[in-house]
Symmetry: C2
């Protein structure tokens, strides 16, 4: 089995690579080749017995996608993309990286034209939805994104579905909820605090909470995101039907519940490192985001997230902190 | 007021041109210039006192859209496109004409960059929806097209909404139901019979009905389609909000009700020209189409279709047969 990962240097890309290296197989088939591509140099996968190739390339550049599919990877995880904030600030870059890369990839697969029909697992986002929302976003709710990022993801989903319907590839689009707890440094994303209010106190650092603790949001861990991607690749085609883009499950809770989970796990001293400092702009942005989902199809298809925010914190401690926390 | 119509040589384009020529104004403002473009030569608008320019150009060709917006039309009706069947048979042509033309047009508007912000009225289609359907398609029902044509229209809607949100244009996408009674010769579209079972008998010719007369479908006349386009252009921006793509109203009835309306208007002898000749393929295609809509937003915004299929037939007789029918 040959697997291609685009955007392999990103946080989810790195974790997916590590997991595939650990498993050495997918759907019961040994992985004998792993190709990692990204616009920045992807980290080398340690531990994978098979052959690993890393390439630093721009997928939106004509010819790059053709090279990437020339060796006929049976499974492609398409994770490459710029984040929401960047796509909003730089209109051209967002459409180029988030949309044209997908168009190039699909065109390259179609151009092979010898019966090649890879599985193409696409990391989409709940940003395809835009307010106003029903109490819980159901599977048939329409896509009216309120960002260019969400627009680009929604268009990629439509293209993926049409190419799948025509037998060019076997696509699955998975709409990820917010990923928490993100490892690494705080970033400027408006959603960053959902992770940093857990990560920073656990690492012994102070952090500010820019919204009211009544804010309700849906989260899944990076480990769950990787599980979703792998489960999507393993899903039998006939279970899916023509509606290939799916809302993923997650843990819905308030910020207060996130903080209480942290207290249960790490104690009052850790929680005391969270300083409340309301930010009007971030509050307004977050108010426009979906709060709750009712992802029946994904659950019926066997996609699983954590059962509680406690569990999400424990996954972070296990996967990113080597099981240790600073008290 | 300068108005640009793309796809001006098509059936709706011609009728819109005639209507604008007749009205000589839109939203109370006199029309002093009308530019018609199409890949085939658009018919010259008779009766328009202002200056009319016709150009035979390919909008998907780089540079064409820039020329089309160089004279800053305040309203653009974007009707250009290939039909469903053609987009399904010719993958590349469908994406080129139906998607790249819109991308070129939006890019050309954005490139002006001097505060130019035209109204852009886009003729979308109910083909953005795909089975299975709820009993009536509501405004928040998701888009899961089952044709490349529907996919291309859905992508254009998303692009239009994002460009509108960013202040590049003032877009409105109107999802047209089936247009009946289409004038002219029978075509090979699977939906053709909805029109031809009325048009052909009225013209003294025999016609075959390929489906059961229990088939339920939603129709609007070409005159209503033109009304929708003009109403969309006249709609005050603040009434619309960010969800700019709208399901249009129509008349929902069975084929039996269509035929009964024809009998009431033209008599048994005309109806006797319809020969029932079931076609398995057409029946299967039509079964996959939406039957009924619940277009609350469009109705609340003042979009109006006919009240009955009788009225649709009378519009055809008035607009296309000069008020006369062959008994």
């Amino acid at each position: 089995m040959h697997i291609l990962i685009t955007g392999a240097a990103g946080m989810i890309g790195r974790k997916l690579t590590e997991r595939l290296a650990l498993d050495s197989a997918i759907g019961g088939t040994p992985i004998d080749k792993l190709t990692l591509i990204d616009i920045v140099a992807p980290a080398r996968a340690e531990g994978l017995s098979g052959h690993v190739t890393s390439r630093t390339v721009d997928l939106a550049e004509p010819g790059t996608a053709a090279k990437a599919v020339a060796e006929r990877p049976e499974i492609i995880f398409h994770l490459a993309g710029v984040v929401s904030g960047e796509a909003e600030i730089d209109f051209d870059k967002g459409y180029r990286v988030n949309l044209e890369s997908m168009q190039q990839l699909l065109a390259a697969i179609r151009a092979v034209d010898d019966g090649y029909k890879p599985k193409l697992i696409f990391a989409s986002s709940m940003a395809v939805f835009g307010a106003p929302f029903p109490p819980a976003i159901y599977d048939e709710f329409h896509l009216t994104p309120l960002t260019s990022y969400g627009t680009q993801k929604a268009i990629c989903e439509l293209l993926l579905a049409d190419h799948t319907r025509r037998g060019i590839c076997e696509g699955v689009g998975i709409r990820l909820p917010s990923i928490a707890v993100r490892p690494g440094k705080p970033n400027k994303a408006a959603s960053g605090f959902f992770s940093s209010i857990i990560r920073e106190p656990l690492a012994g650092r102070e952090v500010t909470l820019p919204v009211a603790d009544t804010v309700l949001h849906t989260h899944a861990s990076p480990r769950s995101a990787v599980n979703f991607l792998i489960h999507a690749a393993e899903l039998p085609r006939d279970k899916l039907g023509p509606r290939i883009n799916l809302n993923m499950p997650g843990v819905t809770c308030t910020v207060a519940e996130q903080i209480e989970a942290l207290r249960q796990i790490a104690g009052d001293r850790v929680v005391a490192r969270i300083r409340r400092e309301p930010d009007v702009l971030i509050t307004r942005i977050v108010d426009g985001w979906p709060h709750r989902f009712d992802p029946r199809r994904a659950l019926a298809l066997g996609f699983k997230a954590e059962g509680s925010f406690d569990e999400i914190i424990r996954v972070h401690i296990e996967d990113d902190l080597g099981g240790k926390i600073a008290n």
